[in-house]
Amino acid sequence: MDNQEFSRISGVPPARPVVRRLRRLAAVKIDFHLLVLVLSLCLYGLAALYSASDGDNGLVRRQAFIVGLGGVAMLAVAQVDMRLIRRATFYVYLGGLALLGLVLWAGVEANGARSWLDLPGLPSFQPSELMKIIVPATLAWYLSERPFPPRLWQIIVACLLVLVPTALVVLQNDLGTALLVAMAGFFVLLLAGMSLKLIAAGGLLALLASPLWYIFFALEHQRNRILSFINPYTDPAGAGYNIIQSQIAIGSGGVYGKGFGEGDQSRLDFIPESNTDFIFAVIAEEFGLAGALVLIGLYVLLLARGLLIAVNARNMFARLLAGGIVLIVFFNVYVNMAMVVGLLPVIGLPLPLISRGGTAIIALFVGFGLLMSIDAHSRGSPSPRN
């Protein structure tokens, strides 16, 4: 964006370069509500990680470093102007697809999913995690260009935009992330006003198709997860072990928990994947119902703040983007927690901002940076067209 354009859109007379620089410095765009919430969650997460990793300082320090890196990314993204973001979105989407393609071609496998990209000169990362933010942004860009509510053929195009990266992630054998990518697209469509009848019809179709999936397509471990969700005690030492042990951890935490570092289930390694997918069980064991509710409360406040930003946003792109980001983050949180407490089958998803992670955390911070940018944009001088 050049100086002229900025002046035209904001209504601010073009400033001399030095003044402009000073003004920008004074007006760093930060949403303090969001910042405090995100940092609180990250601190909570570091504490939980410290306990879950049995005092592994290296692990916690690495996580803190990534959180710091993410914070910088968040603040950087927050400074970028909305319109630039909107214009860049489709190219970023294409770039993201290229990276996913690269993963299929040269990806590195870890924990059964071939989702890592280890490019020379860069730390290894997961392009699929970035798609959780890129896909809602792309849909927001696509739909905001067109009248609302979207028409059927637009929905079909939007679905294609979602399905291509989703399919690529499925090919990586990372179903959890694929689900998130797909759901991110769905949330944008939902917020964009897609017909509820259509959504209901889609839901019904998915419901009817699921037995077919179970019979014909589901892999052995996926079937086991479904079976152990229905009754974990059919195979308590195998498929049901994780869910049984995490429920024991949560239940034995009681109202106030066993205390920091005192969780017997996590301390003695009975909780599987206690650093990642099942870290909520560690929190619920050590800090009890109270600690779990505090965590849930923080996420709810984050969701509320995000939705507020979305509602207050200037234009449809910003609204859909903000709403899409915040809903997919919350969806991720919810699916993880519901899985840990046994409300949903085990799906390999980490708990956002709490679980150990790299790309996932950076992607989240970028998402929050976008929220901040939207917030700043909507707080700026009113748009001439509004």
Binding site: G193, Q245, G251, D264, F270, L289, L293, Y334, G342, L343
Partner: protein
């Protein structure tokens, strides 16, 4: 593109969006309600249940096996102690893939087929769930290191320190002290409820010998501890514990030096020796050769090693010869002689004229004297009881036995422990056979024939006795009838041990106490009566013992015995005439006590020597006994037995020696 914006109803769009936000928020609210409801259900409603489950996960009550008491010999030398070792153990419930784990472990430590076989056997037998099962015993330092480094890849596998039974003298005490080995199912089943609990943490139990007899003293009392384990079954900390009570340390009468001397004395022969201290009845040495290494059984003997031990049909190393019966042969003669004196069938004056055989009235069959099988043939001529002992006249005892009858013989011999077990704590000893009319009817379904009595009179036929029984009987003569029952156990935790049964034992009382002295002198002549110009008038063991050691400072009272393994036709005059396979050769026996007839010192050792297929009681078993008495009296007790004023052998009283002329007449 911006142009299109003019046609859009921004307010409508915003309203639509806001409605959708409200819709989403409502769904979120419902979902959150479900989540919180679930949390409340888990953490409040089911708190007690999950709390208990959590404790059940991590808290385990485990047994602390007591330290087994050690076994000392009489000199305070350890015969059985406990060595600290590290064993590789597996909790099968905590292993994901047992086969893969075993495969992986086989790269880290040496795992023989036997280790895996024993391990799998233990898996099959009933055991406490989540208890560890030993896979490999006694890890080396390198193996410990390799397992420790890879422990993260080996859930359910751990190295457990254990005190392992160890027998420092290896085969020397294999039979007498015995060994411990893994408890088997029958042994577990045999335990009552409290004892079963007491053996909760115990892997080994006494299987043979003293280890088995005194299992109740050695084992101790089990302890308990509540431990916290992680998900791989590793103990993280001990929360509370009840100490185990270690077993009692016991000391035996056994002397390891005499035991070694005895083993050496037997040389390469198969056989057994039991030596008893007459004053206490304490068993000084108890050897069965060949032995085996009892330590093999502690760690679980390999099938191959065990196969070697059990398939050796000649040496049968596992077979304890000291408590198993053999035909005692002529070693029973002193007891029959005492019976004859006591019951009045003979007196000091009584003689027979021994033609070299015995015939029952009206029966043509001849029971030959052993002399008939020598080149010279013939008998002993005029023979009294004493000569019948030192020359070992069969004919004399054929006659005595025949006149005495089996009933009197049985009753008198049983006083000396034949046919029974006088030992206080060797319950596993066999009782042999002291035949009687009832016994024969019961076991053979046949009446007793007079000929049976004749055979029994020289310790053949149906009569079988163990080396332990012979040593016990010899002890009674050494003690002149005072009953001290043989025992292994000397003290418990340093306190002398008193047997309750001790007071129930009855002394052997003879009509005339002088019979004891008479028999002692006769037995002394077996060893010390030298050659003279009288035909067949020397002691049967004189050549091999007294003559072989002219510097002997003390006297041994003994009796030789040569027991036939297979019946040899009475028509064959010389044993050299028949080809006898090694295992069919006669057994050589010798019973003895020493010093005999010493003016100041009572007998300090009584013993029985059994040499399997040794052929000659005099020349083979006799010197073995001499080496043992030398070791005990001279080397170990270091007694000064020299009798200054009387250079000759002990003075002999009674009617012998006869007039030379009378004896000379016998030579014809």
């Amino acid at each position: 593109m911006t142009g299109r914006w003019h046609f859009r109803d921004h307010q409508a769009e915003r309203r639509l969006f806001n409605r959708r936000v409200v819709l989403a928020s409502s769904v979120v609210f419902l979902l959150l309600a479900a989540l919180v409801g679930r949390l409340v259900n888990l953490q409040v409603v089911q708190y007690e249940y999950f709390s208990a489950r959590s404790d059940g996960n991590r808290l385990h009550v485990q047994y602390v096996p007591p330290q087994r008491g050690v076994i000392y010999d009489r000199s305070g030398t350890l015969l059985a102690d406990n060595l600290p070792v590290y064993n590789l153990t597996i909790v099968p419930e905590e292993v994901n893939d047992l086969a893969a784990t075993l495969d992986y472990l086989s790269d880290l430590v040496e795992l023989g087929e036997n280790d895996i076989e024993t391990f799998e056997n233990q898996l099959r037998r009933g055991r406490v769930p989540y208890s560890s099962v030993p896979l490999r015993y006694v890890l080396t330092e390198d193996e410990k290191y390799r397992v420790a480094v890879n422990s993260h890849r080996l859930p359910g596998v751990s190295m457990e320190p254990q005190l392992m039974r160890h027998y420092p003298f290896d085969s020397l005490t294999a039979h007498s002290v015995g060994y411990v080995s893994h408890i088997n199912q029958q042994e577990l089943d045999a335990l009552d409820e409290t004892e079963f609990e007491n053996y909760g943490g115990t892997t080994h139990i006494g299987k043979t010998g003293v280890e088995r007899t005194y299992e109740h003293l050695l084992h101790g009392r089990v302890g308990y501890e509540t431990v916290e384990k992680n998900n791989r079954g590793r103990v993280m900390r001990v929360l509370e514990s009840t100490e185990a009570v270690a077993g009692n340390d016991i000391a035996l009468h056994l002397d390891h030096r005499l035991q070694m001397a005895t083993e050496a004395a037997l040389g390469n022969y198969r056989g057994a020796v039991v030596a008893i201290e007459p004053e206490t009845g304490g068993i000084l040495a108890m050897v069965s050769k060949p032995g085996f290494d009892p330590n093999l059984f502690v760690t679980g003997i390999s099938g191959r090693d065990y196969g070697v031990l059990v398939t050796d049909e000649v040496n049968t190393p596992l077979f304890d010869r000291s408590v198993n019966p053999y035909p005692p042969g002529s070693t029973v003669k002193p007891f029959l002689g005492l019976a004859g004196l006591h019951l009045g069938f003979v007196d000091y004056e009584f003689t027979i004229d021994d033609p070299g055989y015995f015939q029952l009235p009206g029966v043509s069959y001849r029971w030959n004297n052993y002399t008939m099988r020598t080149a010279i043939g013939g008998g002993h001529g005029i023979t009294d009881l004493r000569r019948a002992i030192y020359q070992s006249s069969d004919t004399f005892f054929y006659d005595l036995g025949h006149r005495m009858g089996i009933d009197a013989m049985h009753d008198f011999m049983s006083l000396f422990g034949f046919g029974g077990n006088l030992a206080l704590d060797i319950g596993y000893a066999r009782t042999g056979v002291l035949p009687s009319r009832d016994w024969k009817m019961e076991t053979r379904g046949e009446p007793w024939f007079p000929g049976d009595t004749i055979n029994s009179s020289i310790g053949q036929g149906y009569m079988w006795a163990t080396p332990l029984q012979l040593a016990t009987a010899a002890t009674l003569i050494a003690n002149e009838g005072r009953m001290v029952r043989p025992r292994m156990l000397k003290s418990v935790n340093g306190e002398p041990y008193l047997f309750e049964e001790e007071f129930a034992a009855a002394d052997v009382v003879l009509e005339d106490a002088d019979y004891w002295r008479y028999m002692r002198d006769a037995m002394t002549m077996v060893v010390h009566r030298p050659y003279s110009n009288i035909f067949r008038d020397y002691g049967t063991a004189y050549e091999a013992i007294a003559r072989a050691d002219p510097d002997m400072t003390y006297q041994i009272a003994g009796k030789t015995g040569t027991a036939q393994v297979v019946g040899i036709s009475q028509n064959i005059r010389s044993s050299a005439e028949i080809r006898v396979s090694e295992q069919n050769k006669d057994h050589a026996l010798f019973i003895a006590f020493a010093p005999a007839g010493h003016p100041l010192i009572d007998p300090r050792i009584a013993l029985a020597v059994f040499v399997e297929n040794g052929e000659h009681g005099s020349t083979v078993a006799g010197p073995v006994a001499k080496r043992i008495t030398d070791a005990w009296l001279l080397d170990i007790l270091q007694l000064d037995l020299t009798v200054e004023p009387e250079p000759e052998p002990a003075p002999l009283r009674g009617p012998l020696p006869r007039e030379p002329s009378e004896v000379a007449a016998l030579d014809g």
